[in-house]
């Protein structure tokens, strides 16, 4: 092998390998933040709705603190190499999408758009060839949200909150019908979308139980369904 070429190749591999280590460090940070937020949000299943605002208040600063990690990663990744490295942080990023969208839902019952998610995670458009939020990861985050909401629908009834399932039902059906618009390959996203159907069905059953027991106050329902 041409000695100059050999050295060149070795240098490139060496610098890639160092880069990988540096990104890995950031990803560990990212995963730690994700674990902290998921730990907090898990409590939503066992507290009365009145305490939810406090819970969200404890999560928001952590969510914001991810901005600087994203920035660091965006500076580490060489131009145009976003897709080369993204597998390293995909899991973390998807759970951030879930956290942001869950916080938004618990705050005002609305769906966080892709653009707003990007903004909330502090991801800048100018980084786009180095760090971005692809549609696919956003969609994964939404599916995780629906999984969690079917659990919340169950637990809120246990805690005596009979309005929540109706609110969740309308919200989830809207997301579900959005997903039916997509042409998916036989990949993980499609399999997770298939599983979504069971969440929708489960939530329907709860609405059914609650409705037939006439536990849902008329007004709450009509306010909700106008969303």
């Amino acid at each position: 092998m041409d000695p100059a070429d050999l050295e060149l190749l070795n240098e490139r591999l060496e610098s890639e390998s160092q880069l990988r280590e540096k990104i890995k460090e950031q990803v560990l940070e990212l995963d730690k933040k994700s674990r902290v937020m998921l730990g907090h949000l898990n409590k939503v299943h066992s507290i009365p709705s009145s305490e939810v605002p406090n819970l969200l208040a404890s999560v928001r600063p952590v969510l914001e603190s991810t901005h600087s990690i994203h920035q660091t990663v965006s500076q580490l990744v060489p131009a145009h190499q976003f897709w080369r490295w993204k597998d390293m942080w995909t899991n973390g990023l998807r759970s951030f999408v879930f956290v942001a969208a869950f916080v938004q839902f618990l705050t005002d019952g609305t769906l966080l758009s892709l653009a707003d998610t990007t903004a909330q995670l502090g991801i800048k458009d100018e980084w786009k060839d180095r760090f971005a939020l692809p549609v696919e990861d956003y969609l994964h985050g939404l599916i995780t949200l629906v999984n969690e909401l079917s659990r919340l629908a169950v637990n809120s009834v246990t805690l005596g909150n009979f309005e929540e399932p109706l609110k969740i039902s309308a919200f989830v059906k809207d997301i579900f019908s959005g997903f039916t618009m997509l042409n998916l390959k036989n990949d993980l996203l499609r399999r997770r979308f298939d599983s979504l159907k069971y969440d929708v069905k489960k939530i329907e059953e709860i609405v059914y139980d609650v409705s037939l027991r006439k536990l849902a106050p008329k007004k709450a329902v009509s306010v909700n369904t106008s969303l």
Binding site: S169, F176, L182, L184, D194, E205, Y208, L212, K218, T225
Partner: protein, 246 residues
């Protein structure tokens, strides 16, 4: 007498010709697969959309019509490939043609099911693969094999499972799910008889069995849910609808 070189030159031409044709068919098969898959998503999408007042057709029928219209592209692609798959070539390149063809049959049979609630016959599938004038056997682009027909249809049951489960959250979903279940059970039963003769069918039959059990479990859950109340299921649906729609 020809030199070995010139003889082998002829062989090379023949082998190159064969490999090129094989490549063309593999690529066409990928395209056909993609069109068919997209059509399947389209069918789900329209069939599950809520019926709008004033529509003459049910969502299922209009899904089926749009789906079939979409699938005409596939027929046209086969017509264009006719030279590559006519006569004894069909069997030579069966391995390359089958994957796309089976996906097409899956899409076509789904469209048929949505409109008629029945299984499309092999003859009906064959009829969509005629030359331009739509005339009988002499105009076949290629003959449909029993194996492609059955394996294509076998994949249908997976889509029907998705369709049935999605329907359950809709009004009238139980009835739809029950009739879909009956249909899938019929497929399972009828196809069992073919497993010894059709390669790979028994693997697909176990997927069908899984799909069937998933629908059974879902229907069970609904029955359990409604059994607690002393009212007919339809009335219960209406009540819930009244309450939730304010």
């Amino acid at each position: 007498m020809l030199s070995t070189a010139s003889i082998f030159d002829a062989f090379r031409a023949e082998i190159d010709d064969h490999n090129d044709r094989r490549e063309r068919l593999i690529k066409a098969s990928r395209d056909i697969t993609n069109i068919s898959k997209k059509t399947i998503f389209l069918l789900h999408r329209i069939a599950l959309s809520p019926p709008r007042d004033g529509d003459a057709e049910s969502p299922e029928v209009s899904a089926s019509k749009k789906g079939r219209a979409n699938l005409v592209q596939v027929r046209d692609m086969y017509a264009k490939l006719k030279d590559d798959i006519a006569g004894d070539r069909f069997w030579r390149y069966e391995g390359q043609v089958s994957p796309g063809l089976q996906e097409y049959i899956e899409a076509l049979s789904f469209a048929h099911f949505l409109e008629h609630g029945t299984l499309i016959t092999s003859e009906d599938v064959q009829r969509t693969l005629l030359g331009d004038d739509g005339q009988p056997a002499s105009r076949l682009i290629f003959p449909l094999t029993v194996s492609d027909y059955l394996l294509g249809i076998s994949d249908l049951t997976g889509e029907l499972m998705r369709y049935a489960i999605s329907s359950l959250s809709q009004r009238g979903g139980r009835t739809k799910a029950m009739s879909t279940l009956a249909f899938v059970r019929m497929c399972k039963g009828d196809f069992d008889g073919f497993t010894p003769q059709i390669r790979n069918l028994s693997k697909k039959q176990s997927v069908t069995t899984q799909s069937m059990k998933k629908i059974e479990d879902a229907v069970y859950a609904i029955v359990v849910r409604t059994s607690e109340y002393d009212l007919p299921p339809d009335l219960l649906d209406d009540l819930v609808a009244q309450i939730t729609s304010g």
